[in-house]
Symmetry: C2
Subunit: 365 residues, 2 copies
């Protein structure tokens, strides 16, 4: 089976297995607590409902209005600051849900907003993350030089280590800040930062929802927004370093297969000569083959790029192939009617390579 | 300024502007509704609190327990089916929050689970999405052939069109299904599918939370899980097609710059000859340069790969360069002590290329 298909099937199996294992562990960790909490809450609800003799119908109504009033209790969600916060949760796909569009127009706009905003944000974070990685690589190189190390090259291991500790550091800084401002424990805060920066965004912990912070604490609001954006960049940089290469594996294999198929299909026993050179002016190039005393042109042209290729015709047998490159100076370009001063081609046997014997050997394989 | 930096800064400015515009629009669409709803809810709460003469303290207690009881009202969340659903929302980063770990152990495991699961899932969806794109490309080609079209190549526009309509189709199928099972309007269902498949996952609409579906409707549960995973693949395939290439722009520019710097730094006026050939056996290769009557070896070796390269030494002037390839048959490999039967090298002037004149011309530029 093709490598890409094997890889894809393996990944599917791995992911499905991972889900099964996760489900089993979460079941084991949370089921009992859920049952206990459910019993406690039901008992407390019965007590209060009984204390005030609230009818079932009114109690269900109370449930509905208390649920719907939750975002309002947390603050004004849709003034500019709250809307900006919401917009961040949309395009970063965090999606806490602490506030969600109530109107149909809001829902519809939200969808269009996401369609453009999510790819834009993805590309922005990867771009900024790559810049961050490049800068870190430069810093590490300077540090290695200053420390007088013999090898100043920055390895992948160095980068991954720095990236990993940057992520941990970012989470710790956020955990410290939010535990102070939101009155959460350090662990709850760390969990909030993690769930936010991985863009999972459960919404069980949401910053800026206490004490009308969105309206009353502009500096804390600005800090929260910056933290989310910078934190996502740090995570994005780490993903850019470690994961991005794996996202293109299948495409690269597919491209390689296509090239192989193309060369097998019509160009058996062919050879491609690819010449790469360093020149500051455009050049005129020529590749010629010599076989049996004759000089055959294989390709020629004019190129501004730093390389040119030519494919050998499988029906022609050459004993050697040579190339010629001539820089075109500006004066030559202007006077293009006059032939360029180049060496004349001189034919001659050159039995450096026995292409025909090579052909015979292949047929016997 | 470097291209990568300009690109990154532009993206940052674009994203920030996009957030400002989004915030303004959401404010305009939702603020008034929010105020109206808040007033209505407050009035209704006052009415009920007054009707039963519930003390403020008891009312706040009621608020707390009703909020905490919400997931329990929606069903049993942490048995195997519910845990599997939760695990999906973690590794896909949808993160509805309809259920969230109550225990500290659950929160801690959730974080470790996400650290491994999210990259695994990203790579899996991209891999599967690429396979899907390849298959669609193959189908389109066959369809074009069957329809007797002159051009059977599948263009990027074809692929993007098919991808786009696949996404819309997937959303519509889900919208129809969930509006039936969850008793939502088609629009609310479509909005739910969109928010889910973009992994935003607000949690304002969550499937499998009515009528104890997680325990009582295994087929519907299976459908929901499959819908999320297949839907994410379709979206992932579309992103793979359209967005993935932009995620590597900076890295590719950086690599190109590094190559340019390297060639400027120490290899001025150098040339690299790269030969690509088609052979089924490993080969022994040799590149030689001829200049001033002498044959100079430029490189030789043994390779199983389909190409080899050699860099010309800038201090040596050659008038021509030739290469030799010899397939190594299994019998030759076994008898590696005996020299391989190849053509002998015969020296000879070959003034096909005047390299020295080329060098002179460069110096004058």
């Amino acid at each position: 089976m093709k490598r890409q298909n094997v890889r894809t099937l393996s990944l599917i199996v791995c992911t499905f297995t991972y889900l099964l294992v996760g489900a089993a562990v979460f079941d084991a960790l949370e089921s009992e607590y859920e049952m206990r909490e459910k019993e406690q809450l039901e008992a407390e609800e019965k007590r209060l409902q009984g204390k005030y003799n609230i009818s079932d119908e009114d109690y269900r109504q109370l449930e509905t209005i208390i649920m719907e009033a939750e975002p309002h209790r947390a603050g004004v969600q849709w003034k500019f600051a709250g809307s900006f916060y919401f917009a961040i949760t949309v395009i970063t796909t965090i999606g806490y849900g602490h506030a969600a569009p109530g109107t149909d127009a809001g829902k519809a706009f939200c969808m269009f907003y996401a369609v453009l905003g999510i790819p834009l944000t993805l590309v922005m974070f990867q771009s900024l993350g790559e810049r961050m990685n490049t800068f870190v690589k430069y810093l590490l190189k300077r540090i290695k030089k200053c420390c007088g190390m013999s090898v100043t090259d920055v390895s992948m291991e160095n980068m991954v280590t720095v990236g990993f500790f940057s992520c941990i550091g970012t989470l710790c800084v956020g955990a410290a800040a939010f535990s102070h401002y939101e009155d959460w424990s350090f662990f709850q805060s760390y969990y909030y930062c993690f769930i936010t920066l991985t863009t999972i965004g459960f919404g069980d912990f949401v910053a800026l929802q206490k004490n009308r912070a969105l309206q009353r604490k502009p500096l804390y609001v600005a800090f929260s927004f910056m933290y989310i954006l910078v934190g996502l960049t740090v995570i994005g940089a780490f993903l850019n370093l470690v994961v991005l290469r794996f996202l293109t594996m299948n495409s690269e294999d597919e491209r390689r297969d296509a090239e192989e198929r193309a060369s097998l299909a019509g160009r058996r026993n062919s050879m491609i000569i690819h010449i790469q050179y360093e020149a500051s002016l455009p050049v005129k190039w020529e590749i010629g083959g010599i076989g049996g005393g004759r000089m055959g042109g294989l390709g020629c042209g004019f190129t501004k790029q730093n390389s040119f290729s030519s494919q050998l015709n499988p029906n022609q047998y050459f004993q050697s192939v040579s190339y010629r490159i001539e820089e075109i100076s500006p004066s030559t370009l202007k006077n293009s009617f006059f032939p360029s001063p180049v060496s004349s081609v001189s034919p001659g046997l050159h039995s450096f390579m026995d292409h025909r014997r090579l052909m015979k050997r292949r047929k016997s394989v």
